[in-house]
Symmetry: C2
Subunit: 346 residues, 2 copies
Amino acid sequence: MTENGAHSGPALPEIRRDPVTGAWSILAVGRSRRPGAVPGKATVEPLCPFCPGNESLTPPEIWAEGREGGPPDSPGWKIRVVPNLYPALMPEAGTRGWRRGTRVGRPAYGDHEVIINSPGHDRSLGDMGQEEAVGLMHAYLRRYRHFASQPRLKQVQIIINHKKEAGASLDHPHTQVFVLPVVTRAVADELREARRHDGKGCPLCAAVLEASEDGRVVLENEAWTAFVPYASCAPFEVRFVPRRHNPDFATSDENDIGGMADVLTRTLKALSTQLNNPPYNLWIHSAPCDGKDHAYYHWHVEMVPRIIVSAGFELATGMYINILSPEEAARQLREAVITRALPAKM
Amino acid sequence: MTENGAHSGPALPEIRRDPVTGAWSILAVGRSRRPGAVPGKATVEPLCPFCPGNESLTPPEIWAEGREGGPPDSPGWKIRVVPNLYPALMPEAGTRGWRRGTRVGRPAYGDHEVIINSPGHDRSLGDMGQEEAVGLMHAYLRRYRHFASQPRLKQVQIIINHKKEAGASLDHPHTQVFVLPVVTRAVADELREARRHDGKGCPLCAAVLEASEDGRVVLENEAWTAFVPYASCAPFEVRFVPRRHNPDFATSDENDIGGMADVLTRTLKALSTQLNNPPYNLWIHSAPCDGKDHAYYHWHVEMVPRIIVSAGFELATGMYINILSPEEAARQLREAVITRALPAKM
């Protein structure tokens, strides 16, 4: 930010490729205006823009669930979807890439939405009951399908940042939908691993069985398993896997969605009990929506609590140091899980 | 940690491979005993183990510089090298790997040392003058060469975590040396990019020239250039590159070391001035010491300030969102750089 408050740099977001590491970064100077984006310059936010009654503080809503009558952008909703006020990707960004020596880039063409999880300012996914969580998962599925079917968009990335320490800029629990014109490095890595493993079957299907052998399962229902991975990158990392091998979140049925809501809410409750409501990041990984065949990929959800600071070793090596054994993490989470009967309609 | 304080999990550190992502993690349950390793359980540290007079609080020293007479582990040193009390890699770990289904791992064979940068409890690399910093760089070189020449060790990773927010568990400025039996993902990525680019020359050599064209140079001397990368992953990221194309830190000469001390100290001073002594991670990237030919690789140093929390998007995609243009970051750092004449003996 320049001293007069103007933001130098490209007006529209760009995706740039580092010629040394091969990593891509989005340069989105507009996001520096977000509340709390610049440390030590915390903005006073007198009103939560995500609470009912404050709808005028967000851009006009894209979609809302649960409002019975009443105009858009009025209270009464249960879930509300709005454009991100500080988008990292935009449909206006254009699509034409460039290459000047090692300076390789392309416009950050895509989209960036916010799903306000519920009207409750302190109500996170882990606080929800089954029916409410199923509603939220359906909202995810709806937005996912909307973008996945469009041309030129290759990955729809749904994430939750829970609490400031995990990167949330607003306290009111919400979900972000990043829609990208590229297959990101993390998903490309998973595609490569799954393809490499293909002759031996799906590595995630195998890992679910092995987690059971090793005592690393946190909980399961008839459709999903939640387990602590053998090579966890951080204490209490949990991987959530639909038992049915399926590459694509978009093709989920009621059984998948019901099981997903159940494993997520019960695991997050256990995590909150065990670690006193820690910050975490949660995301959905699905095969790219690029029209190619990714039958070997297995879509899933990941959750990493942010209780350890990643440091120079992690940045320098791309490896992680974990100080809690996955078996012990699973044992502690299992003890904190509230057992509940699954709804009959699962 | 179990309730009785025992640490379940393997007694010796292991490197485990995730079958879904392909990432490696070190499982080192002994490191959970580090001060501050478990959040909310901050240990009171009445005495700094890295301050002169407290030498008995570290394991016996491996090497020290500057002590004129006097026994090991006594005061009077200028730089002191000790084993890490909570090692992530150990020579005792063994070398034999395993594979049980998708559970792939190997012992965390290697070493893990701490270089205490100076006797000064508040004296970081950026506070040092040229001569003192040259001494520290020579200590890095000495430990690097020691390990790089040994069999079965493939990467010597030197890092600084500056301040707790960047992962430092002790305030007294220090450097860590991780010695690994594998080429890590980050260095493998850089090797692949450099090899891919090989017909067009070294991407880092090209990036230095382009940084100059774009106004992204922070400072330079006759041997080194410090610049903000085109695709910076975070605000004020700086890449430090020796002008002489050379794959291997171990082969550095006096000219390289003098230039390195100069660009690092002056850039870190500028960063501290501009951002009020922010936390940062800094690391050396050199070609693997695996006996192979990596002539196309260009060794260098990276520094990333930890002023932005990486969030779910970064974890889910392996991409970054940067909110400050590299050109603007370079301009701000340049303004804060103290110009000083290089010593005549450079």
